[in-house]
Amino acid sequence: MTAARRLVWYWLLPVAVLAWELATRSAQAAYFPPPSRIVTRLHEMWFSGPPSRVFLTDEAVADLLPSLARLFAGWAMACAAGVLAGVALGRSRRLSALVEPLVHFGRSVPPSTLVPVFLVLFKIGTPMELASIVYGVIWPVLINSMDGARHVDRQYIETGVVYRLGPWQRLTRVILPAASPKIFAGLRLSVSLALIMMVISELVGSSEGIGHRMLEAQSQFDIPAMWAGIVLLGLLGIALNAAFLGVERLVLSWHRGARTGV
């Protein structure tokens, strides 16, 4: 009932797609192909392969898989490093005073300005793209983890002392759980940033991947293929966000329970 009622509010989506289809068909706009053509192109380009390969075409294997692999690898590396460094900085006053100006400066450098530098350093290829993603993603994770680890309720720490927790247990049982809502806030921001950095690095310097395929489509005037890339990246963004929210709800379910219980 409630699900059906919520679904009713999606009425504008099909209407918008239909309006777009009709408008673009009648206008014959060169750069705005009708959605039906975009979807057809998307399907034939990437998803019309044999069933044995989950319908992926050769192009899909060549474009999508490296992009996704870099996206996840870069994101995971940045998150691991960011959480680790952030918690360490958050728990040590002196260490955080030492590097805080550097962190704030590093965060302020627009990551896209470093893409050409990474291009010189690593040449075209995966290491350069990984470096771009890691640099773009690490700051919100680091800063939020630092913030979360710094402001752990003193009572929690003292309870840990009373129970004679060792340093390792104090970290995993008290500090990390207490900081996790903040850490997750940083991770959530980082998901969309990782996608942005993946696309930029592939547009600027890559010989494969979704971004490179879009640039190729642009130079060949294959407008539907370019739009197919946009649609695919949008779907990817929605899917990643949804997946992340699901994981967050799962991991932080105790947190919400604890808060409402108070």
């Binding site: 450098v109 530098v117 010189v120 350093l121 930029i200 990246l233």
Partner: protein, 259 residues
Amino acid sequence: MIDRRIARAALGAAGVAGFLAVAEVAGRLGIVPDVLPYASRVLVTAAELPLETRFRADVLATLEACVSGLAIAIAVAVPAGLLLGTVSFLERSVRPLVEFLRPIPSVALIPLAMFLFPVSHDAKVALIVYTCSWPLLINTLYGLSDVDPLAKDTLRSFGFGPLAVALRVSLPSAAPFIATGVRIAVSVTLIVAVSVELLAPGGGGIGAFQSLAGSANRTDRMLAAPLWAGVIGLAANLLFATAERRLFRWHGARTGEPA
């Protein structure tokens, strides 16, 4: 208290100096590949850059695009948010559409924007408008959902129409949230502007400066540009954070980043 602050500042300065020293030594010992210049070289180049008219023009080109893009986005997204926030039917209908459009990474639209706007400057501004509109819209809506219903009812019972209620109660009480949206948007404008400039260097800008430095094999200039971009980003963040604190001191419970 003041002693502590001085100690913190001294430690921070030591951290920066230490970082530069390590980078310099690593460069001289050959730990960092030869393609990158020494840290001292980058610093000297960066110090000299503001004297160059070309560099100043490039920085201004980027900033101008960011400011006009942000201004257009505010002029579009805030009234749109106000309209959606006051007419609940519209909001509930448009919300799914927004949730579908928002996750599209704005940089994915660069190839399209380069088609639509042959002049690189316009493509840059258009993409900045697109990017900034979402956090502004979402934060405006979020702020409007937080308006005290009693204040609205009070005005209504005095006979004010819906427009007056929106402008006199809803907009002011949503303003702090809108300001947060602006601050989030500002940090993305530079990323998007530089990305467009790297791919379409025709219109000038920091990214175009870097492309040129790259093709001239001047990595020191290439690295000095991010340094200045960082300074600009830091200054912008400081400016907006201070303005926010000054303007909305009355707004007690400031939230972090609801978007």
